[in-house]
Each structure stands twice: as structure tokens, then as C-alpha cells.
């Protein structure tokens, strides 16, 4: 009963409808309601099938060397250490160390490299017999000198190995999308990618902050604190109500988006539960963490600080995604990424390869959320008994005592 009351309280509020408008607008702008215009199609022989990244040393080494040489000549390196772009200028000392590395890779003298760099001589070549694993080690050292986040980092070097997809590979991708994703899974995943990063990792925090501050703003705290209900029940129900209220439009919109392709994917075995699976498995943890951070910090500080904290986390996470927008499943990602539509056959294999990482990430995020909710319960009860936080208010008002 209390759950329904809390839901009603949220759903009847103006901020909730602003949230709904924001999610509809954000998702509409990404084309998730026009999936029927981008249908999964079987590749035909003789066409172009896009590209893929592959770790081919003969391709990666010259391309990476070329990039490094150009940046070395200009002494201006582009990195993304914490997601944000950063232009690094090396000291003479560090520049000498990079020249040593270039010397080892090209076989040219360090002094020659330093002398020629000013004239921007055309790209030097990788010396014969350069071992790829040694090359990777040297590039990792360059990345360290640059402070990390460069394209020479071990996990980024593959970016220099882009090759066209063959017909057979494209066909294989298509068949995997049909068999594993059953078509709708791929669309649901793309919906989740956009909904997670654009809306659900950040906006629920505002609803949580507003709901938690509502008692104080309505001068209702003392009335509620002295009632029989336990802090655990109160906080858990409010958390659940917020999460459900946020997930309602998500369920609706994910199905609206997915249903766009149901009618036009004739002859295929579709997974009609795919949106629900992705809503619960992919998006729910994002909603949970955003809500839990909002409740926890609002009860802790009695202020809307949670919005700023979650906003910062979201901003770093989104910018971190600049390098990994196509796919990113690292453990502490707020919003995992897998930005692949029907034109790339959803890159289902890539998703399946990283499924364990995604699972760990989602479980960790959900787990952290529950820990935060538990801490919120403890804080709420402590405030209720005047052991914490509430005394700030009492001190202010002690003149009334």
C-alpha cells in the first residue's frame, strides 16, 4: 500500500513528467523509434561490408609508427587519460626518451631522429626484424610517458589494424544476429546503449533528490520520523517506488522502439522478450545506482549534492566512452556501450565475447546500489533519532526550544 502511495507521489509530480519528456526527446533524437528504417539485411556477394579491427602486426606497426612520428615532430600528442581530450607536450628529457624508442623501432640514430624531427621528414619505416611484442612494449612506454590514454596504449593499438570485412565474415555476422539475437535482441541492445548513456545513468538522481527532500520541504519530517514504520521499510519502499516509476516509461519506450521491426521482419524467429531482458539486465542497474546515489547523498548531506556527484560521474563516464563508444564493458563503467546497429549486424560476436565483462559490471553496479541503500537506511534511522544530521537542524532552531 505504501509502495503505491509513493509511486503515486512520484508520478503525480512535475519533475517526473520532465523526466519522461527528457527520455522521449533524447531517445527520439537517436532514432530509436525509426529502427524500421534500418533493418537487418542479409549481405549479398560483391558488396562492401564495412570494416573490422584486427591485430595484424604488419599493418599495426607502420601505422602506429607513422602516427607517433607525426606527433613527435610536432611535440603535440592527443590523449584521453580520463576520457577528456588532453594535448600533451613533452619535456626535452621525455622527448629524448621517445626519440630513443623511435630509434629502436626504425634503426635510425637518436640524434638523427631529433635533428630531422624539426624538418618533418617523411615517415620513417619500421626496421627489418622488429619483434611485435617488443614493439608493443615500447609503445606502452610511450603511453606511460604521455600519462596514459594515448592510442599507443596496449588496448588501443588494435585501432591501427582496420581491415575490410569479407563477404563470408559479413554473412557469419548476419547469421549470428539472426540466431543469437533473434533480430530484436540487437535492436533492444542498441536502445539500451542510448537509453543508458543519455538518460538513465543521470536523470533518476534528480527524482531521488527531489523525493528525499520533499519531506523536509513540506515540513513533514518530524511527523514521519515519529511514526511506527521502520527506517528499513521506508527507505526500501521509496527506493523500489523510484526505480519502478523510472522503469515504467523505459519498458514502454523499449517495446515501442522494438515493435517497429516486428512487422517488417517477416520469416524470422523474433525474441519478443528481448526488450524486457535488456531493460532488466542492462538498464535496471544504471537506474538503481543513479537512484541510490541520489537517496544516499541526500540523506547524508540534506542537500542536492547528489545531483552534482552523479553528474560528474556521468560526465567522466561519457567522456571515457569517447574512446570506447562502439563498445565498452569495463568493470566500473556507469553505462556500458555497444553502439552497433543493423548496418553492422549488431556486432553480436563482439557482444558475446564481452558478455562476462558486462555481467560483472552490471552485478557490481547493482551490488553497489544495494550497499548504498543499506547505508541510507542507517543514516535515516540515525537522523530520526537525532544522532546524526538532524541535529544540524536542531542547532539552528535551538532558539525555539
Amino acid at each position: 500500500m505504501l509502495f503505491l502511495r509513493e509511486i503515486k507521489k512520484i508520478v503525480k509530480s512535475i519533475p517526473y513528467w520532465i523526466f519522461v519528456a527528457a527520455i522521449v526527446t533524447a531517445l527520439f533524437s537517436q532514432g530509436v523509434f525509426r529502427f524500421h528504417e534500418d533493418l537487418l539485411q542479409e549481405p549479398q556477394p560483391g558488396g562492401s561490408y564495412g570494416f573490422k579491427q584486427e591485430e595484424i602486426p604488419e599493418m599495426i606497426m607502420p601505422a602506429a609508427l607513422s602516427g607517433l612520428w607525426m606527433e613527435f615532430c610536432e611535440n603535440n600528442y592527443t590523449t584521453y587519460p580520463i576520457g577528456f581530450v588532453k594535448h600533451v607536450k613533452l619535456s626535452e628529457d621525455d622527448r629524448g626518451k621517445v626519440a630513443e624508442i623511435l630509434s629502436e623501432i626504425t634503426g635510425e640514430q637518436k640524434d638523427t631522429i631529433l635533428g630531422e624531427s624539426g624538418s618533418e621528414k617523411s615517415n620513417p619505416a619500421v626496421r627489418d626484424g622488429m619483434d611485435y611484442s617488443r614493439f608493443k612494449e615500447r609503445m606502452a612506454l610511450v603511453d606511460d610517458l604521455l600519462g596514459g590514454g594515448s592510442s599507443y596504449a596496449p588496448d588501443s593499438l588494435a585501432g591501427y589494424g582496420t581491415v575490410p570485412l569479407t563477404y563470408e565474415e559479413a554473412k557469419e555476422r548476419y547469421e549470428l544476429a539472426v540466431s543469437s539475437d533473434r533480430v530484436t535482441g540487437g535492436y533492444a541492445r542498441l536502445f539500451s546503449d542510448y537509453a543508458g548513456v543519455m538518460v538513465l545513468s543521470i536523470l533518476p538522481v534528480f527524482l531521488a533528490v527531489i523525493l528525499c527532500m520533499k519531506d523536509r520541504r513540506a515540513k513533514m519530517e518530524a511527523l514521519i520520523y515519529t511514526k511506527k514504520i521502520s527506517a528499513a521499510r521506508m527507505i526500501l519502499i521509496r527506493f523500489l517506488a523510484l526505480v519502478v516509476a523510472v522503469m515504467i516509461p523505459v519498458f514502454i519506450l523499449s517495446y515501442v522502439s522494438n515493435m517497429m521491426v516486428w512487422g517488417v521482419s517477416k520469416g524470422m524467429q523474433l525474441d519478443y522478450l528481448a526488450p524486457l531482458k535488456y531493460d532488466l539486465g542492462w538498464l535496471l542497474p544504471s537506474v538503481m545506482i543513479s537512484t541510490a546515489v541520489g537517496m544516499f547523498l541526500t540523506e547524508l548531506t540534506g542537500s542536492p549534492a547528489a545531483a552534482a556527484v552523479q553528474g560528474l560521474w556521468w560526465m567522466f563516464d561519457v567522456n571515457l566512452g569517447i574512446k570506447t563508444v562502439s563498445s565498452g564493458y569495463s568493470l566500473f563503467r556507469l553505462s556500458p556501450r555497444h553502439n552497433a546497429g543493423a548496418d553492422s549486424w549488431f556486432r553480436t560476436e563482439d557482444y558475446l565475447d564481452h558478455f562476462q565483462d558486462l555481467l560483472q559490471n552490471r552485478l557490481l553496479i547493482a551490488g553497489i546500489s544495494l550497499v548504498l541503500v543499506l547505508l541510507t537506511i542507517l543514516i535515516y534511522e540515525a537522523k530520526r533519532r537525532g544522532k546524526f544530521g538532524g541535529n544540524i537542524r536542531n542547532r539552528k532552531n535551538k532558539s525555539q526550544a
Binding site: M1, R5, T226, G386, K398, Q400
Partner: protein, 302 residues
Amino acid sequence: MNHSIEIKNLNKFYGKKQALYDVNLSIHPGMFGLLGRNGAGKTTLMKTLATLLQKRDGEIMVCGVPIENARDIRKIIGYLPQEFSMYPTMNVGEAMDYLAILSGLSKTERKERIDVLLKKVNLTEHRKKKVKALSGGMKRRLGIAQALLNDPKVLIVDEPTAGLDPEERVRFRNLLSELAEDKIVILSTHIVGDIEAVCEDIAIINEGRVIYNGTVDALLQAAEGRVFTMTAVREELPRLKGQLSITSMHTQGNLVHIRFIADDLLSGAEVCEPNIEDAYMLYLHSSGLRDILTEDEMGGVW
């Protein structure tokens, strides 16, 4: 179950500042008045009884339950804070229903209890009215109704009549009197008239210390022979104010009739029957407060 509140050697601090000093009280069923100036410590004591504040030391038992057992205390108390409101967009019925759910009432109990309580506080006709549209008096009555949802053994009401017009104040006091028939009702106020009208037992609290604890009759008896009236010319008033503890005065042309407390009869003065306000002033005076007439709420007219 023990049906009284026992407070022994209660001390309360806000940081390093002490707000209550060795408070000892025994409160039994009926109306108990807690009288004191603004900032005397009444709200601190009320909040401590309502489990909203932690005591530093001492012992509080509410109907046999130690105050530390907050969960059980919340089941048997009803609390109306000095400053409160409810979600403004909810109507009276919705607000009551929400708080009844938090009080652990079942659907049937809620329906029954809310009907009875709204009738009791004369808000039945306003059931559909938004909380934000209620007048101050109606809001207070709604506050009392919500405090009674769990049929508490103890009702704690903090400054309930502040800001109410005289008619609402009388109505509210009568309502509290009715409720006190089978409960402990603790009423804190700085308005002497509230106490005089409804309380039999009272405590006067000043600067965190209980300076009187007993019946209203005993308080009046203690003031007998120490309250005087006198008529003087207006020009003498500044001098008299400096010399006497004046509790009220009334100007008539060039004359001023004053009422004051003193240990001995002055020449030109007459002993008069003390009222509760005089007795209250006498206790405050004994506690070292002289310039009582500067307090707006104390200066009466007779």
C-alpha cells in the same frame, strides 16, 4: 502497563552547550502543561520524549518503556511539532491516509480511524480540501488528528496554539482537554492562558532547568500575599518600573494602574488575588528575571 512518564536527572547538550539541566519530572494521565519562555528548553524536552533527540544522560521511561527503545516508544506516542505541515498537494484525507499507513494501520482500521478523527477535529467537511488551502487553525487540528492515528497513550503537543486566533485557540484547548481524559497529554506553551484553562499539573522550565513542578493550585497558593496593585501618576512609571517587578499595567488618563510582585507590601499598594500569570512571573522573578514586562507575551492588561 505503567501509565506515566518518569524523567530522572535528564541532561541534554547541543555540542558543548547544555540545553537541559538535571530535569526530574513525573507525568501522569491528564493534561500536563510545560510552561516557559521562548528558548527555555521546552521543545528540546518534547523532542527528546518524541525520540527525535538523544539525551546525554539521565533516564526516561514512557509508560514503562525506556526511551532508548525508540521503536516501541513510537507505537505509543503521538507527536505534534511546533512547526509542521504536510505535502501541500495532498488533500486532508490523502494526508491522513498516508500517515496512517506509516503508523501501521490496516485498510479497515485506516478508514474507520480517519473518519472518527476527522469528525473529532471538525474536518470531515474539509476532507477533500488540499492541505495548502487550510487555515492555520485547521492545519493544527489536522496535526492533532494525525498524532492520534495510532491511538497513542501519550500525546506530545508543542506550542499548538501559537499563531492561532482567540476562537481557534479556545477550540483547540477544549479539544486537548477532551483527549486528556484517557491519555497523558503534554502541552508545551509560552502562553499562560493555555495552561490556566486546561492543565492541572504543570512544570515551569527556564534556561533548561525545571523551576516549578506541581499543581496549578499550589502555584497560585505560593503567590498569595506577594501580588499587589497600585495606582500612580503616569510620570512616576519610569521610576516604578526600575523598582518593581510589574506584571501588567493599565493606563487611564494621567493615571496608571499597575500590578506587581514583591516580597513586602509597599505604601500605597494593596494585596490582590494572584492569577496564574502572576504566579508564573513570581517564579521567573525568583529565577533572576526582572525585566519580564519587556516580553510581549507576558504583559497582560487588567
